[in-house]
Amino acid sequence: MESGHYRSTKLPDIKLMMWIFLASDTMFFGTLIGTYLVYKGRSLVGPYPVEVLDIPLTTVSTFVLLMSSFLMVLALHALRQDDTFRFRLWTFGVAFFGSIFLGFQVYEFAHFVDLGLTLQGNLFGTTFFVLTGTHGVHVTIGVIWLLSILVHSFVKPWTSKDEVYLEVAGLYWHFVDVVWIVIFTVVYLVEFA
């Protein structure tokens, strides 16, 4: 990977790899969202989406996730400037906001189960939990990744030379964020349109 061997493009290998992975991941989410849409309105028993979805609550968690993407940009900018303190601060911020989003999701899931919406109860439950759960797993992996970067930066200080490794994590994070925007629109907003 970093052997100094000839490369026919300027793109670092892991950055190209991440783009290709994200292209593939788009198909994963595309299939899950497609399944959700195909089964939309086909549940034979409740609870139905309009009965459980809470737009104001999810708008807040969506805003938190959006802000985390903003902090991601700041973190990368700080690393490029070799501003170690801000790089660490903003990286922590991204992971922290990501965790808040996950907290909202845990609360939402628990609340839905209380309202009777389960994985096995109806098609809405099946498709909703598997789609948003898969997204939650992506966010969790991102949070662990960013926290690992943060811890590692105390073991071996990161400089602007390591920029690409943060950039790749950032690409992943922004992607997961964009996917959420699609899910928020398709699953939540459309229901009340």
């Binding site: 990977m1 100094g4 493009t9 991440m18 994963f28 299939t31 089964y39």
Partner: protein, 635 residues
């Protein structure tokens, strides 16, 4: 995605495991990250699975030799045709193409290895684990029996309570991850690691077709993986994805499966096209006729492959508009394939053809694949399909494409590349004798099935009654398996004979055209002593015969020394093997609902990801100029 985060090569022993550095011994095969060794492992493993699939096919044909036969009971018969299909598609033919790609893509583009050597090893181990897992079903309560496409609702818990379906779903889910990471690795390699001067329009056709194939994999496998995941969820956690009583539509499975399944046909066939495009010019002693057209039609197939899936579903009641649309796209996708056939024929035309065994297989590919293509176009006509659907006509069609097409092309590749991989020649007399059993045997098996199918013989049915005219085609078909089996045995004998007694091959026994023939046979561990430099298409050929390409021309430099850092050899690693093997507890834990075992595997993945990342690429550098071979560094 575990992306290595450590920039510098970690010193050996910085991880949990001591970094192995063995050149020989069987343990070195477990920790290898070398693309050539992994290529050989892929090819060897795919041959093992192919043998199993051949035995299954043989049993099927024995059962169908005469009417009302009792060699296999209906239950065993269902397992046999399911496992035959699953094995040939997922565990034999596709990995064979990936194995060739592993070995030859870096050599053809003058790269040292794939971009992510450890990820490459990881991909192989998941494939091996996934395959073994599926095959363990035979000893653990019965193999999958719902056909290779496992249509819902045949796979629901109530319709199929045994474990077989879980083995199918979990095994393919796991194996698919391996295919995905390997495809991503190949894309990065081909885009980023081409030798100086190797522009995209100078890339050898086999590598080009692998690039298109890899792109198809990264877009086609996710729908399958999600569909498998949905059924696993249904069967393990009681979700409702394919439960009609809850309002679900089992036809969704067919859509998701064929959105993957049709591209899969080209994922198998495009590498075969690539092999053919190497073999035919070499043995016609002419450059490939219409190189840009071959490449562009390959790319076109890559796109169109995603727009034809519903031709597998003409009889499911999608309506005349949808059927017409998919019939049209299916006709259109025949065009680039037909163009390629003309390119290959045009290459042979006027060439000084050398009839080696490899070339014989390539020519048989042209003929057999064309027949399979023609029956394919027939089946793309919805009214005809309504008649032939689920009959032996379809079986005959796709065996002409997969067996007579892809597999014959790969056998051409085996004979073509064996000298490079082993340093020894295979025997041409045994090879040709085997060919004259194998290919006529194949036609004897599958040609009569067209007729049986048109007479109404349904596929996936354990037996048939006497007196309706099906005896003769079936008897001929079964006789064909014996003929073809002799050919396969002769091929195996020839491989062993070549390894033990083969004559030395030399670097370039076929007077080849591409860069793999520029290094020794087998190539040294580091592939090339000097960095190849490419001045034209058919890079090796123009170095040997500059005047034949551009009139009299002074040969340009074919290579330059590697830069001052020398040749980087990535370190061996335990992590790909351990992370791959961890899919065994994952799979069995999921299958037997033992969430402790499942949790253990997830813990291994979690810890392993960090170990992997902090271990880094590692390795050592050979001095620039690279003449110093480390001891025993042959692969």
């Amino acid at each position: 995605m575990a992306v290595s985060k450590v920039t510098v090569a970690a010193p050996a022993g910085s991880g949990v495991f001591t970094r192995p550095n063995w050149d020989a011994g069987w343990l070195s095969w477990l920790t290898t990250v070398d693309h050539k060794r992994l290529g050989l492992l892929y090819i060897f493993t795919s041959f093992l699975f192919m043998s199993a699939a051949s035995i299954e096919a043989f049993l099927i044909r024995l059962q169908l030799a005469v009417p009302n036969n009792t060699v296999l009971n209906p239950d065993a018969y269902n397992q046999m045709f399911t496992m035959h299909g699953v094995t040939m598609v997922f565990l034999a033919i596709m990995p064979l193409g990936i194995g060739f790609a592993n070995y030859f893509v870096p050599l053809q583009i003058g790269a040292r290895d794939l971009a992510f050597p450890r990820l490459n090893a990881f991909g192989y181990w998941i494939y091996a684990v996934g395959g073994l897992f599926v095959y363990s079903s035979f000893f653990l309560g019965g193999a999958p029996d719902a056909g290779w496409f496992a249509y819902s609702p045949l796979t629901s818990l109530s319709n199929n309570p045994g474990n077989g379906t879980d083995f199918y779903m979990i095994g393919l889910f796991v194996g698919g991850i391996g295919t995905l990471v390997t495809a991503m690795n190949l894309i990065v390699t081909i885009i980023s690691m081409r030798a100086p001067g190797m522009t995209m329009m100078r890339v050898p056709v086999f590598t080009w077709m692998m690039l298109v194939t890899a792109f198809m994999i990264i877009f086609a496998f996710p729908p399958l993986t999600i569909a498998l995941f949905q059924v696993i969820m249904d069967r393990t956690f009681g979700t409702l994805f394919y439960v009609p009583q809850a309002g679900a539509m089992p036809i969704l499975w067919q859509h998701l499966f064929w959105i993957f399944g049709h591209p899969e046909v080209y994922i198998i066939v495009l590498p075969a096209f690539g092999v053919i495009s190497e073999v035919i010019p070499t043995f016609s002693r002419k450059p490939l006729f219409g190189y840009p057209v071959i490449i562009l039609s390959g790319i076109f197939i890559g796109f169109m492959g995603f727009a034809v899936w519903s031709h597998h579903m003409f009889t499911t009641g999608l309506g005349p508009v949808v059927n017409t649309a998919f019939a049209l796209t299916s006709f259109v996708i025949g065009i680039p394939t037909g163009i390629k056939i003309f390119n290959w024929v045009g290459t042979i035309w006027g060439g000084k053809v050398v009839f080696t065994t490899s070339m014989l297989y390539a020519i048989s590919f042209l003929i057999t694949f064309t027949i399979g293509g023609i029956t394919g176009i027939m089946l793309a006509v919805p009214p005809f399909d309504a008649q032939a659907q689920d009959s032996y006509f379809v079986v005959a069609h796709f065996h002409y494409v997969m067996g007579g097409g892809a597999l014959m092309a790969f056998f051409a590749g085996v004979y073509y590349w064996f000298p490079k991989m082993s340093g020894k020649m295979m025997d041409e007399r045994i090879g040709k004798l085997g060919f004259w059993f194998l290919v006529p045997g194949l036609h004897l098996i599958f040609f009569p099935q067209h007729i049986a199918g048109l007479m109404g013989m349904p596929r996936r049915t354990q037996t048939y009654v006497a007196g309706i005219g099906l005896e003769l085609p079936n008897l001929l078909s079964t006789a064909g398996t014996f003929v073809m089996m002799i050919g396969l045995i002769l091929l195996a004998v020839n491989l062993v004979h070549g390894l033990l007694r083969g004559k030395p091959a030399g670097n370039d026994p076929w007077d080849g055209r591409t860069l793999e023939w520029a290094t020794t046979s087998p190539p040294p561990h580091h592939d090339f002593d000097r960095q190849p430099v490419v001045n034209d298409r058919d890079a090796h050929w123009v170095q040997k015969y500059p005047e034949s390409v551009h009139g009299h021309r002074v040969p340009e430099s074919a290579s330059e020394p590697y830069d001052a850092n020398g040749i980087h050899m990535p370190g061996q690693s335990w992590y790909p093997f351990i992370m791959g093997i961890a899919f065994l507890p994952f799979s069995y834990g999921l299958l037997y609902h033992n969430f402790w075992v499942l949790g253990l595997s997830i813990l291994i993945f979690f810890v392993g990801t960090f170990g992997w990342a902090f271990e880094g690429v590692g390795g050592h550098h050979l001095p620039a100029g690279g003449h110093a071979h480390p001891k025993g560094a042959r692969s």
